[in-house]
Symmetry: C2
Subunit: 173 residues, 2 copies
DNA sequence: AACAATAACGTTATAACGTAACACTATACA
DNA sequence: TGTATAGTGTTACGTTATAACGTTATTGTT
C-alpha cells in the first residue's frame, strides 16, 4: 500500500476566502459583534464542508486542524455566534450545522435535507416567509425567523448510478 | 399547612377520551399498526399536557402514573410510534413532543412556538405545503412531510398582565 | 498610557437527549 | 397449534448540550 498523502497530522488553518472574510466582517460590524480568530477558524472549517456536520464533528475537525484538544463548549459557543450573526444555519431536525449560502441579509432557515446522503439545499422563498409571518401576526404572535426543513430524497439519491443499491451512505445524517 | 391532595403517589392511567381513542384506532388500522395499551397510555399522558413536553418529562409522568421505573427507550419507542402514525408531532427545535390537534389526515408539522411560555399553536396551511412541495419537486427532490416551526412570542406573553415582568416562565422550553 | 467595563475564551464537570443489543412476550395468521 | 412478526423490558452506552467559574483579550474612557 502506498503512503497516504494526508495522514492525521496537524494541518494549517483553512484560509477563509477573502470575499467571505470581508462579508463576514461587514456582517459582524453591523451587528456589533466581534469576529475573532477562533470564530474565523470555526467558520472556515464549516465552509470546507459540503454537507451539514454535527457540533462534535466540527470539534474533531478543529482539533485535528489545531493539533490540540478542545472542549465541546468552545465549539458550541462559536456555533452560537455564527448562527446569531447569520453566517451559519442550524438544521434542528438533523442536529447539524451548515454555512449559509447567502448570508448578506437575514432570512429564515429553509432547506431540503436528503435523508440518504445528508446533503442540504438551501432555498429562498419570500412567499413562504410572508405566509408564515402573516399567519403568525393574525394570531397575535410575534414571529422570529422561521425554521423550515423538508426531509426527503435528493435527485442523486433517487437516481442511483449503476451498481448502487439504494442503501444509505455510511455517515449520512 | 394542609395536607396536599395530590402528592407524588401513584395515579391511575389517564382515560383517553372515547372519541380520541376511536380516532386513534381507526388511524392505526388504516396504517396497519397496533394500538397497544402501553401506546395508549403514552398518548393519553401527552393529551393531558397543555404544552409540548420532552421525552424525559413524559418518561417522568409515566413513571409516576404507573408507579415504577421505565427505561427511556420505552418512551422513545412509543413516541416514534405516535409520530409515525400521525397522532403526535415532534418539535425538533424544542426537542419536545405534542399531540396533534387534527390527526385525521396526515400533514406537515407546522407550529408557532412561544419562546417565553413554551406554548405551541398548530396551524394548517395548504398553501405553505404546496409551495414547499413544488419548490422541492422542481429541484428533483422527493419531499417528505415538512417541518415548519416559527419561534416567537405568543399574544399572552406579549401583553403581560399587571404584575408580570416579561421574564420567561420557569420550565418554559 | 492606565483604568474599568465588558466580551470572549479555557477548563472541568455534568445534565439532557437518544440508541444498540439482546432476551422475552404477545399477537396474527397459516 | 405452530411459526413468523411486532412489541416490550433491561442493561449499557453514545451523542448532544450546558453550568459554573476563573482567566484573557478588547473596547471605551479618563
Amino acid at each position: 500500500m502506498k503512503a497516504r498523502k494526508t495522514a492525521t497530522r496537524r494541518l494549517r488553518a483553512p484560509s477563509l476566502p477573502a470575499a467571505a472574510l470581508h462579508r463576514a466582517e461587514q456582517l459582524c460590524t453591523k451587528a456589533g459583534e466581534r469576529l475573532t480568530p477562533a470564530r474565523i477558524n470555526a467558520y472556515a472549517e464549516l465552509l470546507t464542508q459540503k454537507n451539514p456536520i454535527s457540533a462534535y464533528e466540527l470539534l474533531a475537525l478543529m482539533e485535528q486542524r489545531e493539533g490540540r484538544k478542545l472542549a465541546p463548549l468552545t465549539v458550541y459557543r462559536q456555533l452560537d455566534f455564527l448562527v446569531r450573526v447569520g453566517l451559519v444555519h442550524k438544521l434542528t431536525s438533523a442536529q447539524a450545522y451548515v454555512a449559509c449560502e447567502h448570508p448578506d441579509h437575514p432570512h429564515d432557515t429553509l432547506y431540503l435535507v436528503c435523508s440518504s446522503c445528508g446533503k442540504a439545499d438551501e432555498l429562498e422563498s419570500e412567499r413562504v416567509a410572508e405566509l408564515l409571518s402573516k399567519a403568525a401576526r393574525s394570531r397575535g404572535f410575534k414571529p422570529g425567523k422561521a425554521i423550515v426543513e423538508v426531509p426527503g430524497l435528493c435527485q442523486t439519491c433517487r437516481q442511483p448510478p449503476d451498481g448502487a443499491d439504494g442503501i444509505g451512505v455510511a455517515g449520512a445524517r
